[in-house]
Symmetry: C2
Subunit: 340 residues, 2 copies
């Protein structure tokens, strides 16, 4: 019996800010799974800022989505039919195969999730998944965080940012400063242990950062780019380190984005080290990351928040709202209740 | 008997391009040396691009020169009178005490030069001195050069750039590409073993670099900034590395200098590592650097060129011409004949 799936296709490459017209929800019939395949019914799918890059051609963080084809992205689901000895029916799996409600996939294209019965399945898309590992690798490897460092993270109330700030605190940062886009988010950052936090709408980032971190910082974890990066380069100490993880302030730009001002002279005078970060380079850290972070969650030392939209039809609103900063913590689209 | 010295003082902080009026040559009488002091008669002094930074207040590569005071900079000289048991009369020394013809100095402020009778004394200001060590540390440590890397260096016919390119060649670079500011310099770069070289006046740096390095590069050693840095970020491979050593294209800027375009997205998509370089962080490399490089010079594997201006009164023209790129190799001002 053929399998009916609902899928989001890329309808058009946006110019500037994406709109709902750039996406199309279509119904597709798939044949029954072949030998070695499984049918996965998705429980939740991820929308992430980096996906804005997959909508365009040119330098991006992952292969661009093709116009007229299904978009790809992280999701967790349950195997409802299996023709592979490796992945049993009923298994909970992580895939890169949403945005859709059900998919017929090669068994090799899914990863079985370990039993974490006490933790929500969706954490595998956030704090225990790609965003969490991004924070881990960016802070500890790329930015070479050391105990006693003062850390500034932008987009601090997002999935990656909130992990970065808390990881830094738990590993002995002397200060953790975060920027976010609303008073609620700022309040939440203070709640979860940030030393200082500010709403970047409240003034020039440079001034707000100087107020929040009057003694400067050693590490900057950048999710935002633009004015935030400018301000951070100014606030960094000699031998400061920057992980460039994202630049959401420029994702909808239609012209080339201006770079940080006085870049060369700041880089030299302070011998800064600025490094680009993609999580795919750092999967070797997955073991230590998972063990440590799941421990922190279980012990209550690490706060986790999610913003959940319900239903596949709301995947596009979730994504567009994410780009506008509507989420606190990980933005997730729930497609089915958590399995028992 | 008091010692009469001629000294260059900073007369004014320039706005934009420095002019001769920003400097003043004055005659000063110094008292006889006190206990622990030496009198050094300079043989040659260095003018370097970084000195433009010492003319201004604010983020710089070294302490700013004070208006109305003598300027400082590397020089080699001979001790003509000594009241220190550590530094005998007649010793050849390196000091940071030019721009002047004679200076009364603490013995601790001079470094005795090893006997290198076969090599010109002025090499201690260039290929065997600060610029050479800058090239060494920037290429091998900061940019983490590895055998087989393709290297691009801007300002390649300068003291630092010509060392970088040749060091890379001698350590097994797959390609060494240089940019310079005149056909003569480009011809010289080809002569001394650069795989490809171009005159940046001949078109857009981006296009010239694409032609010279069609397969891209692994390492960029930046002496120029601006359009060169933009072009290099575009040409770098995934995991490419950049040492930011200088930014001569922006040294006379009167407003904030725009940064590299699309910086964040390039940094992330290619996971580039960009690091600022100041030679003072890397003095621990001095031993291996001196030994290897003096060996390369003696064996004829490393070409050295100097541009020499004669006389203290020509120090300012030398410096101003340096900023315009009039030199090939190290720019030196000779104040006296080499001692026997």
């Amino acid at each position: 019996m053929p399998i009916t799936a609902r899928e989001w296709h890329l309808a058009a490459r946006p110019h500037g800010e994406p709109t709902p017209d750039d996406f199309r929800l279509v119904e597709v019939e798939h044949p029954d799974p072949a030998e070695g395949q499984v049918v996965v019914r998705m429980v939740a799918m991820s929308v992430d800022p980096y996906m804005r890059g997959r909508m365009r051609l040119g330098p991006s963080y992952a292969a661009p989505w093709e116009v007229g084809e299904v978009m790809k992205g992280g999701a967790v689901g349950r195997v409802v039919e299996s023709r592979s000895p490796d992945v049993p029916e009923g298994a909970l799996v992580l895939t890169d195969a949403a945005w859709r409600d059900v998919a017929v996939l090669d068994a090799r294209a899914v990863r079985q999730l370990p039993a974490t019965e006490d933790l929500p399945l969706t954490y595998s898309l956030g704090v225990l998944g790609m965003p969490g590992l991004t924070a881990w690798a960016g802070l500890f490897r790329v930015a070479a965080f050391r105990e006693g460092d003062a850390v500034f993270v932008s987009g601090a109330a997002g999935a990656v940012g909130s992990a970065v700030g808390q990881f830094a605190r738990l590993r002995g940062a002397s200060a953790v400063v975060g920027s976010a886009g609303s008073p609620d988010k700022v309040a939440w950052l203070r709640e979860i242990g940030f030393t200082a936090a500010f709403d970047y709408h409240d003034g020039r980032v440079k001034d707000l950062l100087a107020q929040a971190a009057p003694d400067g910082v050693d590490v900057y974890f950048d999710n935002v780019g633009g004015e935030h990066l400018d301000a951070a380069l100014g606030a960094l100490h000699v031998h400061g380190r920057v992980a460039i993880c994202g630049a959401i302030s420029g994702y909808n730009a239609t012209e080339s984005v201006p770079g940080p001002k006085n870049f060369s002279s700041l880089m030299i005078a302070k011998r800064l080290a600025v490094t680009g970060l993609l999580v795919g380079d750092h999967t070797d850290l997955h073991g230590e990351f998972t063990e440590t972070v799941s421990g922190w969650i279980r012990s209550g030392q690490l706060a986790v928040r999610e913003t959940v939209y319900e239903g596949l039809e709301n995947a596009v609103p979730a994504f567009l709202d994410l780009l506008k900063g509507a989420n606190t913590g990980k933005m997730v689209v729930r497609l089915a209740p958590d399995p028992d």
